[in-house]
């Protein structure tokens, strides 16, 4: 087994509410291998969102170690974490979080503005176009969120998350605002990215159906891991025909 992309060692996170200390994560240790497709489930208040924030370098653990891609990130400053988020992490949110009145192309280009790599405007545009084509929106570069369906909006968000070619994608309830058909399309896209590009994907979800489409299921309860199972994921559609079908269905 190759070195794990994510290694958590006894991660604890305590929030201070007034005089009270509220422990939310009570010692989580976890390895996630490269190229894995993980569903993180658990009841409300089980700590999965807090864990997700720490995994996504938005928050720092109170104690414990977190190695991301071989680098200790749990003690980095906020600027250093911003750099890590920019280069190594892609985010997909339940509410899409697209910029209003902004074209699909500009949405996807946006993270490149914070990248030191210094891609020229034309290269940035080309790459954004490529990403949008990947998610089946190559024809809708100039559309604004108001002109697109929920599924399409979430695909723009996925393209945006992938623009800096991160090794890992964190999706927080990515299908929470979508109907069941669109949910399938998005899940199919995740599976495809996971298989063909080897991108590690962690999905936080309530939906057992979504979890069933992931290879590994991690269940949390009261700030600790309750169960961790690996199984053959349910595939949406046979992998080879996926893409063409999905694109066709969108039009």
């Amino acid at each position: 087994m190759p070195e794990a992309l994510i290694q958590l060692r006894d991660i604890r996170r305590t929030f201070h509410v007034g005089e009270l200390d509220v422990p939310v994560l009570k010692g989580v240790s976890l390895d996630i291998a490269r190229g894995d497709l993980v569903a993180l489930t658990g009841a409300s208040g089980s700590g999965k969102t807090t864990l997700m924030n720490i995994l996504g370098c938005l928050d720092r653990p109170t104690s414990g170690e977190y190695l991301l891609d071989g680098q200790e990130v749990s003690r980095l400053s906020s600027d250093q974490r911003a750099l890590i988020r920019n280069k190594k992490i892609g985010f997909v949110f339940q509410s899409f979080n697209l910029l209003s009145r902004t074209t699909a192309l500009d949405q996807v280009i946006m993270p490149l503005a914070y990248t030191a790599s210094g891609l020229s405007d034309r290269d940035a545009k080309a790459r954004a176009k490529e990403m949008l084509t990947r998610v089946g929106l190559g024809e809708r570069l100039d559309h604004t969120p108001a002109q697109l369906s929920g599924g399409q909006q979430q695909r723009i968000a996925i393209a945006r998350a992938l623009i800096n070619r991160p090794p890992v994608l964190f999706a927080d309830e990515p299908t929470g605002n979508l109907d069941s058909t669109t949910t399938m399309e998005i899940l199919q896209m995740f599976q495809e990215l996971n298989v063909s590009d080897g991108i590690t994907i962690v999905i936080v979800t309530h939906d057992p159906n979504v979890a069933a489409h992931c290879r590994r299921n991690i269940r949390m309860r009261d700030g600790v891991l309750e169960s961790d199972t690996t199984s053959q994921p349910r595939s949406v559609i046979p992998a080879s025909a996926d893409h063409a079908h999905a694109s066709g269905a969108q039009r």
Binding site: G56, L58, Y114
Partner: protein, 458 residues
Amino acid sequence: MTTIKTLQTALRALRRNKTRSALTVLGIVIGIASVIAMMEIGKGSSGAIARTIASMGANNLLVMPGTASSGGVTFGAGSVKTLTAEDAQAIQDECPAVAATAPIARARTQVVFGERNWVPTFIYGTTTQYLEVRDWRDLTEGDMFTDADVRSGARVAVVGQTIVRELFQGRSPVGKEMRIQNVGFKVVGVLSGKGANAFGWDQDDIILAPWTTIKYRISGSTGNSPTGSSSSVASSTTTAPSRDAVYPGTTGDLYPAVTSNMLTGGPMPARFANVDQILVAARSGDQIRPAIQQITQLLRERHRLGPGEPDDFSIRDMTESANSLASTTAMMTNLLLAVALISLVVGGVGIMNIMLVSVTERTKEIGLRMAVGARARDILMQFLVEATVLCFIGGIFGLLLGRGTALLVREALGWPVEMSVEAIVASILVSALVGIVFGFYPAWKASRLDPIEALRYE
């Protein structure tokens, strides 16, 4: 994040909210426009005021001959003859702070026309420049005498309003001949009314004539010596008596020939063609000090005065008038500055208000930008640049609107307007500064947001 990208992001964000951006900018536009319009109108009026005060003689300097002393007894200012008409010309040519000069030869004597007679307060022998020096350009009738008249010592004169009233009984004097000291002078022009000066002297009680004529035909023959003494020290002017004999046939040779001895730095002979005083106009109120310095230096040089010797002339300025000019202008400027500051502060508060609203409204966007890798300083810069760009654009439009308003005021109300480059440059800079100052707090607030909280914000 590079500067250009920040600028692009800011412009894109502003375009996303066109109406709001436009309305926000309106505050600055009006602020800057009022500043520019105020400054232009104000500069125009303070220019007009400065000209008015200058016409009262605030910019004038009076160069008087020095004092003579004999055995410890001084004879008062003007008791020696050291100034020449050439000195006046040299001052005008060589002192950069000086706008114009006029030599003056004075006389005080009776003037006769028909059956009436009158003793004017001022009978001034001068050059055509006198009117320019006094900022007294308009004649109600006729013309000023000419340089040729001065050269030839022509018997022509220009009279003031009081003379017209008292001597000519209000009738047009142009073309008539009056007699000054039994010398006939043809009146060629009538000066416009100027009223009394600061000391109560009636400035219209004046006759202007070529200094050559006054000097050689009037004061020369009067002697004008209070004691009648033969001492040249006490008389108001020395004369070249032979001029009476040769007049009016010759034109030149008003000054003694320059000898080789003089050229090599030897002592100057007594000046025959001296004048009583030289009236000097500085270029502006604040040029008075430099003008005094330059004139002093020039005259010391021309009069061959060694380092230890005292000046053989004295320079008087109209300090009181000059001070009133300076304080009026300063008060005007300060008043406008206060108005300008208030307008800009109001505009700036508007910008801050809208930027705060914008930060709150875009909390989610800020959270997202942080999630995809924006550092706190990137967010700070983004909002700061947005505010600054807004103010800058407002400044440009305000500038155009202000210029337009000023021109409209000039056309519609006929007020004097003067373009002020300093005001334009300053208001553009100030508008950008307002953006930075009033944009900083909202931008700082945005940059302090916690990405987790910001993403969850509804």
